[in-house]
Every structure is written in structure tokens, then in C-alpha cells.
């Protein structure tokens, strides 16, 4: 009898476990994993901003257009034309009819007002996540001189971009570059500065002196560049506010070039050619102290600081071919990071610190590419007759570079490309443009 009882227990116990597991399985929700989606621009709607008080309709419309162009220019957004709108926004404070915007598949809605306050323009905006039926972040207001209306539009676009993507914006930034005019071989080069989108171009130098490779300071208030004003290439520092410049390096019998600021803005690293040998030096702008960071018979040039200022990436032919190397800020612990086929040059450390952009010549073509700071995961983003001089957007998501077209009538132009390799587009400039340098976001 006891045997039978135990037998029953032993047999029924697993049954109970089965029942329990079945009940648990039944109560747990269905689990689905999704790994495949789509990569498409996010559709957004931006009705013309509402004009308040005495402001003319020109500013609201223009500001709306600049915001829309900024967002669509990234390749990440797509504007829904106004003709598709079901409802209009006539009151900035009124509740949004989300159903009307969902119906046209608008996933983000930007509304705003523009008003005049004294001599200033006041711009307000709100961003809505249509499918969440809620506002995305809080409304923001920008105030500034009327002449800076474009900057205010860029700031609105930066906020929208940042709230949706999670990355910092880059619209309220500027580009310093070399403006080129004239036929090939007789080019006249001037330093020029413009908004990131090619607007508001102004010239910093005249065409009498050859200038090369301008570089923004971290604060955007100064520019380093190489000038042939004295016959030999010399590094100059230009103060944008006063348009004053000074020569930083003028040792006899040397050439200095390829300068770049350290993240602190008080140290400059550059290349110095002396007796046929080119090495990398650092210059302390506060006390004028110069330190030699590399030595040897090879050509070491194009240095660029990491964002934290602890390391420097540069190009060198010490191994025979032109390759990329990383060293500490004191010139120690040199490590080669590029091993691919071809010649690597002009490395630039990303503002986020995760990638290094570079130019590459291989099999008769030039490329702009990115790799991780240890040299892994190299990706070539472009390919053309001549691509060079990459520079990072402030958010580390976009690279601008110069591209020259082939032939006698070929000219340099500026292009941008997303680090994914998508959205290659030209930045329109009044003349040829090369050697771009992207500033940080303006304050």
C-alpha cells in the first residue's frame, strides 16, 4: 500500500510541475524580437511660424524655411509640404489636433512664433511628438538682434535635432575655409568664413598672399593658418573679433605648417621643417615654450589632438609608406594604427573621441574614411578624383571635406557626408573652396 502511495506521489509530482509551468507560460506575454527596420528620413511638419505684434511676415516665413532646410539637409528628416496639411496652426498656445497630423503621417510637429521686442527678435517654438500625443521637451524662446535671425533659426533647428535624435546639433556653427578663384595653376586663395550651410560668407584675408589650412580654435574666436606672406610658410594666429593676426613661428631656415589647437586653446601643435626633416612640435601660447614631440628622418605632420587632450594622431612615413600613428601628448608611446593598402593622411580626431577621420589615396583614387582610434573598423565614406581635408561637425556625426573635380577646369568644392556614408551633399559657396575647418557650436 505504501508503495502504491509513493508511486502515485512520484508520478503526480511531475504532472503538477507541468501544470505550473503551463500556467506560467500562459500568463507571460508574447515575446517578439525585431531586428530589421527601415532607415528613412523622419517626416515632420513645420507650419510657418506665427507673426506676433508688428513683425512682418518675412521673418516668420524665413525662419521656418531655415529650420526646415537645416533638418532636411541632414538626411535624417523629411519635410511634409504645407499643401498636405489638414489643419493650420493659428494659435501658438492652442492644443494641437494630433489626429490631423497623424493623418498625414507627420511624426514631429514644430510650431512657433516670431515677435519684435525693441530692437530684438523673439523666436519661440514647440516640438510635438505626434504619435505620442505629447510635446517633446519644453517650449523654448530665443532673443537676439534682428540681423541674427538666421542664427536663431539654426538654434531652433539644433534643439529639434537634438531632441529627436539624441545627438547634439551642428547648425549654429561656422566654417572657415580657403576660397579659391582663378584658373588652375594661378589660383588666388583667401581665407573665408561662412555659416555651416554656406550662407553669410565673408573674407578674412586678401588674395595677395597665399594662405593654407585654416583651423578654428575651440572657442571659435581665433584661427590658425599657414601664410606665405614672408616667402616661406609660417603659422599665423588670427583674432576674429579684431581681425589682428600674429606669426607664431619664425625660426630662421625653417618652414612651419599644418597647425592645430589643443582642446584647451592655449597650446598649438604644428609641423616644422628644418634641414629637410619634418617633425611635430608643440607651442605654449602663454609662455612661448616649444617642445619637440617627434624626431627622426621621417616626415611627421598633420597632428590632431584627441578631445581630452591626452593623445595626438598624426601621419608619418617612418614605416616607408604614409600611415597614421597615435602618440601621447608628450610624444611617447607612438603606435601605428593604420595598416591598410594605400597612403593615409590628414587624420582628425572626432569631437566625440570615438573615431578618426582621414584621407586616403589608393589605386589612383582618393577617399575620406573613418576608423576607430585603435585603427579598427576602417570605413571609406567617399571616393573620387581627389577628396581631402576632412573636418568634423561639432556633434561628430558629419564630416565636411574638399573635393576637386578632374580636368583643367576642375575646381575645389566643399561637401558633407554622414559618418554612415549616406547623405553626401555639396555645400554651395560663391567660389571654389578647400581646406574647411568646422567650428564648435556658437555660444
Amino acid at each position: 500500500m505504501r508503495v502504491s502511495f509513493f508511486f502515485a506521489i512520484a508520478t503526480l509530482l511531475p504532472l503538477q510541475l507541468i501544470n505550473v509551468s503551463a500556467a506560467l507560460a500562459q500568463s507571460s506575454p508574447l515575446r517578439i524580437e525585431i531586428t530589421q527596420g527601415v532607415i528613412e528620413p523622419l517626416p515632420f511638419a513645420i507650419p510657418n511660424f506665427i507673426a506676433e505684434n508688428t513683425v512682418s511676415n518675412e521673418y516668420p516665413q524665413n525662419i521656418s524655411r531655415v529650420i526646415a532646410n537645416d533638418l532636411t539637409g541632414t538626411g535624417l528628416f523629411r519635410e511634409i509640404p504645407e499643401t498636405a496639411f489638414i489643419s493650420q496652426v493659428r494659435d501658438f498656445s492652442a492644443s494641437v489636433q494630433f489626429a490631423d497630423w497623424k493623418a498625414i503621417n507627420a511624426q514631429a510637429l514644430i510650431t512657433g512664433t516670431v515677435a519684435i521686442s525693441g530692437d530684438n527678435l523673439v523666436v519661440q517654438f514647440r516640438l510635438f511628438d505626434v504619435f505620442a500625443n505629447s510635446e517633446l521637451g519644453q517650449g523654448l524662446q530665443f532673443t537676439g538682434p534682428i540681423s541674427t535671425w538666421r542664427r536663431m533659426a539654426h538654434k531652433v533647428a539644433d534643439s529639434v535635432y537634438s531632441r529627436i535624435t539624441g545627438e547634439g546639433g551642428y547648425f549654429d556653427s561656422r566654417i572657415v575655409f580657403v576660397s579659391e578663384t582663378g584658373a588652375k595653376g594661378q589660383r588666388q586663395k583667401r581665407l573665408a568664413i561662412m555659416d555651416y550651410d554656406g550662407e553669410n560668407v565673408s573674407y578674412l584675408t586678401d588674395a595677395e598672399t597665399l594662405v593654407l589650412v585654416p583651423r578654428f580654435s575651440p572657442d571659435g574666436d581665433r584661427i590658425l593658418y599657414t601664410s606665405y606672406a614672408t616667402g616661406n610658410p609660417r603659422i599665423h594666429e588670427l583674432y576674429l573679433n579684431s581681425s589682428q593676426s600674429r606669426v607664431l613661428e619664425q625660426s630662421t631656415g625653417t618652414m612651419s605648417f599644418s597647425p592645430r589647437f589643443a582642446p584647451d586653446g592655449q597650446t598649438v601643435i604644428y609641423s616644422l621643417e628644418q634641414g629637410g626633416n619634418t617633425d611635430i612640435y608643440s607651442l605654449n601660447l602663454d609662455n612661448g615654450e616649444v617642445r619637440r614631440l617627434t624626431s627622426g628622418p621621417s616626415i611627421d605632420t598633420a597632428p590632431s589632438f584627441s578631445p581630452d587632450g591626452s593623445r595626438i594622431v598624426f601621419e608619418s612615413d617612418r614605416s616607408g609608406g604614409q600611415q597614421l600613428y597615435v602618440m601621447s601628448v608628450t610624444g611617447e608611446q607612438v603606435q601605428r594604427i593604420s595598416f591598410g593598402e594605400g597612403r593615409y593622411g590628414t587624420p582628425v580626431w572626432s569631437p566625440r573621441g570615438d573615431l578618426i577621420a582621414f584621407s586616403k589615396q589608393n589605386r589612383g583614387r582618393f577617399h575620406i574614411g573613418v576608423m576607430r582610434v585603435d585603427g579598427s573598423e576602417e570605413r571609406l565614406l567617399t571616393a573620387s578624383f581627389l577628396d581631402e581635408s576632412p573636418t568634423w561637425a561639432p556633434n561628430g556625426r558629419v564630416i565636411m571635406f574638399a573635393r576637386e573635380t578632374r580636368g583643367e577646369l576642375g575646381r575645389f568644392s566643399l561637401y558633407t557626408v554622414d559618418i554612415s556614408g549616406r547623405n553626401l551633399k555639396q555645400v554651395l559657396t560663391p567660389a571654389g573652396a578647400s581646406d574647411p575647418s568646422w567650428s564648435a557650436l556658437q555660444k
Partner: protein
């Protein structure tokens, strides 16, 4: 949830009833228990024994039988107590206990296979042993837990359920009827066990008696009317069969309410949501962030927007997860505004869904 509770309750009730009723079959107190040493032999070993010319007709004799040495010679495992033997939930040998009454000599040709194993296999009986089927194939709704010991039902009713074609209704979907039994019998593949108590129409679809009830037990039942071991075995077999049938019903009848979504249905849902999952505007960090989103669904297959919640994330910061969640939420709402292509009859299965959005493969596109 109710189904599991009912099953659990039935099993508990059975257990309690058995413990209470077991006193009825208590042996005389003057009788003492005799503990029999048990020899364990694998099926293969047993087959090897079967070919020995001196193999006796009985599986095992008394403990002092000199034939025990024969089993020792083929490396048996000897248990010394009943507790040890009962701890094996899945016996792989036949066992013989020395009863008070003279032992029943079981012919070698009958109980060779383990009991549990034989219940898990669906072995159609030999046609010659099939009893005549009744003209009405509908089996009676016999109670599995009897308040008192009763004689087993007539054999023709018991075995009538083996004829699936005669019992399955014509309106049963061909797709589910043709499911292989091996697939439908997997316990882990089901999310719900449908009981007869809840689903009255189940009897129209499947037999009320187990398909795989051991034939040997049925034969024994015919030989001894109120044999205690047979009753136990029968009750256990019934319980096992009920659970297995319920689970196999959940799998096999996939169009039944509460059954699991098929892989095709899951893939269709995956494609629908993926079509709206636009990661083009995500930051590089958000593209490295895996998130799990839960959503409650209406019966009309549209999502309840307010119920969409971020359950967990990994691989990125909270800010990146929030951005990724915004994209995922838009995907669920956008593609679900007209309803997803989900089987309405399986609403209980997809009433709550957890979706893991893994952008790893999207990063490199």
C-alpha cells in the same frame, strides 16, 4: 490562467482523494511489509536475457531465488529500499515487489516496456486486438477522479477513441488536424492547457480518453476487477493523459482560442512592426541600445497607445534608450493604427506583447 488553475486543482483533488481513499485498501495490520530487493535491468539487457535459453518465465522470483545470480552477472543495479526506488520518477526498468499475497507472475510478453514510456508513445494497436467500435464514436464524459473506486469502463468505449477520423469533426481545420503528433505533444510548446471543463467543444475535437493509455493496463483490468495497483496505475495514466491531451490540443488546434501564435503569424507581426521601425533619425548611441517595450492590444488588433511602456534597455544610456523608445513607440502606433494582422481567435495569446527592438543589424546598414 484559469486553465492552469483548473488543471492544478484537479490534480490536487485527485491526490487528496487518493490519500483519503487509500485507507480503504489498507492491508490488515497484522500483516507485515516485506521489503524486496529489486533488480534494475535496462531494456537492452532485458532483451539480452530474453535470448538466454535458461531464461525463466517469470521476471523475478523470491529474494532468495538462486536465479538472482543470473541478473547479477549482467551488471544489475540493486536498490535496497523502496524510497530509493520511488525517487526515480522515470523508471526505466520493471519492478517487482514482494506482496503479502502470492506474487502475480507477469508473462514476459506483456509488461516489458516501462509504464511511463509507453504512455508517451502513441502506438496504434494491432488491428486484431482492436475491439469492435461502437456505432456512435462519441465517447462519454467520464469523470477522471471518481469519489469512490469504480470499475473501469467497458473496453469498447475505452478504445473507441483510438479512431481519430471517426471522432474529429468535419469542421476542424485541416491544417491543425494534420499536425504531427510529435509536434503537438510537446509540453513546452504550449501556453495554455484547454480543459474539457472550460471548453465543452473539445470533446468534439479530441477523444475524452487518453490516446496513449497503456494497452497492458487495459488488459490487466479485464483480468482482475478491483486490483489496487491497477486502479492506481489507471488513475495516474488518466491524469497523465489528461494533461498530455490538453497540452497537445493547445498545440495541435492552433486556431483554437488561446493557442500559441504560429511562427508564420509571429513573423508577419514582426514584419509589420519592422516596416514602421524607422531608425534613420536615431543617434549612433541609440543605435547601440537594445530596448524591450511592452504593449497591450485591443481585440481589434490595434495597440493601446497609453499602454506602451519601456520595460528595459541595455547597451546605452537612459537618454539613448528614451530616444530609441520614441522610435519604437511610433512604429507600434503607426503600423497598428489600422490593426495588425493577428488572429483574433488567439487574442489571449497576443493580448500583451513584449517587443525587443534590437538595432544591431541596422547599425551596419
Amino acid at each position: 490562467m484559469k486553465t492552469g488553475t483548473y488543471i492544478s486543482g484537479i490534480c490536487h483533488l485527485f491526490l487528496v482523494a487518493w490519500v483519503m481513499l487509500s485507507a480503504t485498501f489498507q492491508s490488515e495490520p497484522t500483516h507485515s511489509f516485506a521489503v524486496q530487493e529489486v533488480t534494475l535491468v535496462s531494456t537492452t539487457e532485458f532483451a539480452a536475457i530474453g535470448v538466454l535459453p535458461q531464461q525463466p518465465d517469470v521476471l523475478m522470483e523470491a529474494p532468495n531465488s538462486p536465479d538472482l545470480s543470473t541478473f547479477d552477472s549482467i551488471d544489475p543495479q540493486v536498490m535496497t529500499s523502496n524510497d530509493q526506488r520511488l525517487s526515480k520518477t522515470q523508471p526505466d526498468v520493471t519492478e517487482t515487489v514482494q506482496p503479502d499475497n502470492p506474487p502475480v507472475n507477469i508473462p514476459l510478453s506483456i509488461p516489458v516496456d516501462p509504464i511511463i514510456d509507453s504512455t508517451l508513445e502513441i502506438t496504434p494497436p494491432e488491428p486484431s486486438k482492436l475491439p469492435a467500435l461502437s456505432s456512435a464514436p462519441q465517447p462519454p464524459n467520464a469523470e477522471r477522479i471518481a469519489p469512490e473506486v469504480v470499475a473501469p469502463p467497458p473496453i469498447d468505449v475505452t478504445i473507441g477513441d483510438l479512431d481519430q477520423d471517426a471522432i474529429a469533426p468535419l469542421n476542424t481545420k485541416a491544417e491543425t488536424v494534420e499536425e504531427p503528433q510529435e509536434e503537438t505533444a510537446r509540453e513546452e510548446a504550449t501556453t495554455e492547457i484547454v480543459t474539457e471543463a472550460e471548453e465543452s467543444d473539445i470533446s468534439d475535437v479530441v477523444p475524452v480518453r487518453p490516446l496513449f493509455r497503456p494497452r497492458e493496463l487495459i488488459i490487466e483490468t479485464q483480468e482482475s476487477d478491483v486490483d489496487e495497483q491497477d486502479i492506481i496505475a489507471s488513475a495516474v495514466a488518466d491524469a497523465i493523459a489528461d494533461v498530455m491531451i490538453s497540452s497537445s490540443n493547445s498545440n495541435a488546434q492552433q486556431s483554437q482560442p488561446g493557442s500559441q501564435l504560429s511562427s508564420h503569424e509571429q513573423e508577419a507581426f514582426r514584419l509589420e512592426v519592422g516596416h514602421c521601425w524607422n531608425v534613420g533619425s536615431l543617434s549612433t548611441e541609440a543605435l547601440q541600445t537594445k530596448i524591450v517595450v511592452s504593449v497591450l492590444m485591443r481585440q481589434d488588433t490595434t495597440p493601446i497607445e497609453e499602454s506602451i511602456k519601456l520595460q528595459s534597455y541595455s547597451g546605452g544610456t537612459r537618454n539613448a534608450a528614451d530616444k530609441a523608445f520614441g522610435v519604437a513607440r511610433r512604429a507600434i502606433i503607426r503600423c497598428g493604427k489600422k490593426g495588425y494582422n493577428l488572429p483574433v481567435e488567439k487574442y489571449e495569446t497576443w493580448r500583451e506583447i513584449e517587443i525587443e527592438f534590437n538595432p544591431e543589424q541596422m547599425r551596419n546598414r
